[in-house]
Symmetry: C2
Subunit: 280 residues, 2 copies
DNA sequence: GGCCGGTACCGACGGTATCAGGTACCGTCT
DNA sequence: AGACGGTACCTGATACCGTCGGTACCGGCC
């Protein structure tokens, strides 16, 4: 693996992630001899602080660039925003994904404390959930472009094998899961569900928020937050529990309670040969 | 949006005629793009069926290609899979996104009936939720690559303005929302939350499923389904309700499983510690 | 020699242009 | 009526462009 700039992304994945067309075949030719910092002398370590700062600054520039050019920024634009050129960026980040991950971490560092603070503002668990949801939505509204970059990053050129992408949602989900595990444990219950629950709740809020934005905010943010809190807190049981009367869901074969667009191309291949017998 | 503006875009005929008013505003759905539809004769309409078939076939080829090359297929590979070349594909789909949407619709046509069938297999609402979740997970496991293509499609090069991408998640979410609205209405309650709830629940399952796959399936699918059902049905209230003892989530004292960085500002110039490295 | 940074470039990929055919429909001329 | 040319679509293929992520190679600083 590369020598120095890596340190972050590729260290936990043993296998180098190759892409479909083998273009980056030169794996080990770079001097790996000193890869281990056992050999590090002052000549090298002297730069540590500078490197850290530079990375940080580049992350900051990325955020700015996202604000200026939208969530689809290019590396050139990011570099330009940082007052330098792509090469410099690539010296500090192995690839776009690496940068992306760093940005996510940075944003998470801002967001998570807010979430935590919001939750600490109350002692009633339900209020805590409500506050956290509200904080999330506030973050979205504060800078939609950054939000899109960070949660809908079309990063990670995935090829067939798992994608090691660490998006913001993952990070937040991990937090939620950890918190949930802790809570469950404290309660003496099996924390096995913590992972699923944590990521599930985060996904709940995320998807609903995305939908909300996509459909041009059909309701007030506070309303959305309230609805989501209801759902996250009480679950779907609330949909049908109050009125035990009618059977709640499509009993047998109701007209599909669908949005107005099922008829896209329903017709299975049953048709007379059109013009030419087959298609040439 | 593009949906149907097929091939008619840049075609200029000499000796042309009343190009009528340019109302390219994509009315409802089905084909209308033909601006001068007044002139539509059999020479044109005769191909309609063929066009429909061809689109369908290309969608099918895309699915196959995704299976063969992974979720990151290129247009060339798709075309090759269909036994033709890119140009032919672009004759029927305005761009990659158009194809993507069509694929999503196709998959949704397979998935939604399954979901509906699963839900109809029981009368107890909670079981219905459980079955739907299970069906979703089954779909994921049946063909992970297609799943990834369809829910994590890095399609739609969005630029600053809204992207009308219709991913599979959206479609399923719409269904869920519609169903929920119907249920709420039947119960005489305000269906305002339906949208948020429908998309929220779908997002819940999706995110949890993604996490599950990403972390290499740390539990049985049935277990995951059970956990998700618990969460979706009863919500988070179940996490803390049983034991009324300690306040449930004090993120303060115990080493929060958090990334160790409270400082958000750019460069805390102190610690020589290289970038924090949590666990990941 | 370590590191930094820049220019110029590669290669992949989405998408287009332009070629060279092929076939059913239409209006018209005979 | 039938023949005929034009029309309105199809099909395939090759070659190409623009963009963008990523790299080779160079010079300069310690």
């Amino acid at each position: 693996m590369k020598a120095e700039a890596v340190r972050r992304s590729s260290q936990d994945k043993p296998a180098d992630l190759v892409r479909a067309p083998g273009n980056v075949a030169h794996a080990g030719e770079r001097r790996e001899s000193k890869a281990d910092q056992t050999t590090r002398d002052r000549r090298d370590s002297r730069w540590d602080e500078h490197r850290r700062q530079r990375r940080e600054q580049l992350v900051q520039a990325t955020l700015t660039a996202v604000g200026r050019h939208g969530a689809g920024v290019g590396m050139d634009e990011i570099a330009a925003e940082a007052g330098t050129s792509k090469t410099a960026v690539y010296r500090h980040f192995t690839d776009r994904t690496d940068l992306y991950v760093a940005v996510c971490e940075r944003v998470a560092q801002q967001l998570l404390p807010k979430l935590r603070a919001a939750m600490e503002s109350s002692h009633h668990p339900r209020e805590m959930v409500a506050d956290a949801i509200n904080a999330y939505l506030a973050f979205l509204e504060a800078d939609p472009e950054v939000y899109r970059f960070v949660v809908h990053g079309q990063n990670g050129h995935f090829g067939r094998d798992a994608d090691p992408i660490t998006s913001l949602s993952d990070l937040v989900g991990d937090q939620a899961a950890a918190l949930m595990a802790l809570t469950l444990e404290q309660a003496g219950r099996d924390p096995g569900a913590a992972g699923a629950w944590g990521h599930g709740v985060v996904g709940l809020v995320r998807s609903a928020a995305d939908w909300w934005v996509r459909s041009e905010r059909p309701m007030l943010r506070t309303e959305l937050a309230a609805h989501l809190t209801d759902l996250a807190w009480a679950g779907l049981s609330g949909v049908v529990s109050p009125p035990p009367a009618t059977s709640p869901a499509p009993p047998t074969s109701p007209a599909p309670p669908i949005s107005p667009a099922p008829p896209i191309s329903p017709a299975p291949p049953t048709s007379p040969a059109p013009p030419s017998k087959e298609d040439k």
